[in-house]
């Protein structure tokens, strides 16, 4: 198997006669080494992008057989579909709640753990724990904590004299409940990344400003934030992209029949339901193209804005 693979490549190389033998040798090795990844990427990722685009112009026939070309109908339907607009609103709402809160808390914690604090290793380990649990399991536990009648959270609230909150089935609250799970499970990840960024900042900067009599708050805003801004930018970009693709928690917590469905369904959840639950892969593909567009726009805006606040040393 391996040998025939190499033979194909050496044949390809023989056709390039103009260059020296040594360079040719290097080319062949290089092609051989990138081949698995590149072939894999083309088959698994690049072609599927075009297939998804292609599918979005079709209506899936019964049993997935015989797709009918419908032109831009899926897109027209999408822009008239109230549920899609709900999903856009919910996805952006979720992102706007989870990302800023996570990053602020994670940054403060990272700063706290960056000093000479005793037991900082233990804190770091504990804060990261939610990251290693499967979202499916985590959501099951939170759903139980949120339970209207028997949940721990409502019990504690009642004890301190607050009425029970209908965390899951109240359409006004459900997205907040989901965001809390999102924040809880990603704080550790952002914190670990930011902590790594903080450790790159030379200690002398702080010592010098200590001598100058700068307060801790002043140090935070004029040394820590500017110098950690490249890491902060990375964490911000990846957090936003991850949050825009939220699926697991909502899928596990909110059923299609739930009264909160319209107020919590995300674009990816809607894509999943249309593509696989209702087997309308054409419409599902149109939704995923919309998600792609939104993420692209956000990424472009961010790269434009980064010049304003990110300091590369």
């Amino acid at each position: 198997m391996r040998r025939s693979y190499r033979r194909i490549f050496s044949k390809r190389c023989d056709t390039v006669k103009k260059v020296s033998k040594k360079t040719r040798n290097e080319w062949c090795w290089a092609w051989f080494m990138v081949a698995p990844t590149i072939i894999g990427l083309i088959v698994l990722n690049i072609i599927p992008i075009f297939q998804t685009l292609y599918l979005s112009f079709f209506k899936s026939g019964a049993f997935g057989k015989g797709n009918i070309f419908v032109g831009l109908d899926n897109y027209r339907r999408m822009f008239a579909d109230g549920q899609v607009w709900h999903a856009v609103k919910n996805t952006i709402g979720y992102t706007c709640m989870v990302v800023p809160i996570t990053i602020v808390i994670a940054l403060l914690m990272a700063v706290a753990l960056n000093g000479r604090l005793k037991g900082k290793g233990i804190y770091r380990t504990i804060y990261f724990v939610p990251m290693v649990a499967a979202p499916a399991a985590v959501t099951m536990v939170w759903k139980w904590l949120y339970n209207n009648q028997y949940g721990l959270i409502n019990h504690v609230l009642n004890k301190v004299g607050i009425d029970s909150v209908n965390w899951i089935d109240d359409p006004q609250i459900a997205l907040l409940s989901i965001s809390i799970i999102g924040i809880w499970s990603t704080i550790g990840y952002s914190m670990v990344l930011l902590l790594a960024g903080l450790q790159e900042i030379p200690r002398d900067y702080y010592e010098a400003s200590d001598i100058d009599g700068a307060s801790k708050v002043k140090q935070f805003f004029s040394i820590t934030v500017p110098l950690v801004s490249p890491t902060l930018f990375f964490v911000l970009v990846t957090s936003i992209i991850t949050a825009m693709q939220v699926f697991d928690v909502i899928y596990m917590m909110i059923d299609v029949t739930s009264p909160s469905y319209d107020n919590t369904v995300s674009l990816v959840y809607l894509f999943y339901n249309n593509s696989f639950k209702y087997s309308d892969k054409g419409y599902g593909s149109a939704i995923v193209m919309l998600l792609l567009m939104i993420i692209m726009v956000i990424t472009v805006i961010q790269t434009k804005l980064q010049k304003k606040w990110v300091n590369y040393m």
């Binding site: 080319w27 090795w29 690049i46 380990t125 504990i126 649990a133 499967a134 596990m252 696989f276 599902g284």
Partner: protein
């Protein structure tokens, strides 16, 4: 001054301990509930925090009704295969992109970057159709399929290779190693921390993945821990101790691995993020 610092350290500890408590509370509650009887779990007056006697049979029942051995096998085979593929292929491609000159290099590396910028859901339907057409649904291969290669891994490993000194490989080449030997025997061992980081990253995210196994392996004996939980969650609905027992069974292996290798985990995640 000294006293003031002590107080602020103490306050900091109190805040951090409260934070830590919030982080572990759901897991604690999960384990405690898993060991209760159904009536204990739903008793409000008095509210039961600790079970009177540990109800270990909750676990027995869940294991009997769901083939957890099978789920562990599926999940871990998937993780191991994905890690091996991602690490090997990414390291190979990354070395070529970092150190070799060849026609098409920039274009091909552009493909790698392009893949990383696109949301993964865009690949899902065509990948599903491919697996379906090949007749591989409900197999371990189907679980591994989207992870056969890794653009992220290629990018990450390239950063590691670029950080290594050029002199090393030049002397290896002078000593008569060919390109493959230079890569395999000299350069690859030097990127061990990168390989570990990529391995942990790949293992963690394939373990947590829910949508793909849900779509491609709908049979319950081909499911992963995550996708099986999704089914159990809707099937048991009100028996909370058993639901929590299933959740415990699904999270403990990764938790154990994490506790043993916590330093590698955290450093792995930190470097894989920091290198980008």
């Amino acid at each position: 001054m000294e006293r003031k610092r002590k107080i602020s350290t103490l306050l900091l500890h109190i805040v951090l301990i409260m934070g830590a408590f919030v982080m572990v509370l759901p897991f604690l509650w999960m384990v405690l509930t898993a060991l209760k009887t159904v009536s204990e779990s739903t008793s409000m007056n008095p509210f039961v925090f600790f079970p009177k006697t540990m109800q270990w049979e909750n676990f027995q029942i869940v294991i009997q009704q769901n083939d957890f051995i099978r789920l562990y096998f599926n999940t871990f085979t998937m993780m191991v295969l994905r890690v091996l593929c991602a690490v090997l292929f990414s390291a190979m491609a990354a070395y070529a992109f970092a150190r070799l000159e060849f026609p098409g290099k920039n274009f091909l590396f552009g493909l790698v970057l392009f893949q990383m910028m696109v949301p993964a859901q865009i690949f899902v339907v065509p990948q599903y159709l491919m697996v379906d057409k090949m007749g591989f649904r409900n197999t371990v291969f189907a679980l591994v399929f989207p992870g056969l290669v890794s653009a992220f891994g290629t990018f990450l490993m390239r950063q590691f290779f670029m950080g290594l000194p050029k002199e090393l490989e030049e002397s290896a080449r002078l000593d008569g190693c060919n390109i493959w030997q230079t890569f395999w025997k000299v350069m690859l061992p030097l990127t061990k921390s990168g390989l570990v980081a990529l391995g942990i990253f790949t293992a963690l995210f394939s373990f947590k993945d829910l949508m793909w196994p849900l779509i491609v392996n709908s049979d319950s004996d081909a499911a992963t821990l995550s996708s099986a939980l999704a089914k159990i969650s809707s099937a048991y609905s009100v028996n909370y101790p058993q639901l929590m027992a299933a959740a415990v069974l699904a999270v403990w292996p990764m938790m154990l691995i994490y506790i043993i290798f916590q330093r590698q985990f955290i450093e792995g995640i930190a470097t894989s993020g920091g290198k980008l």
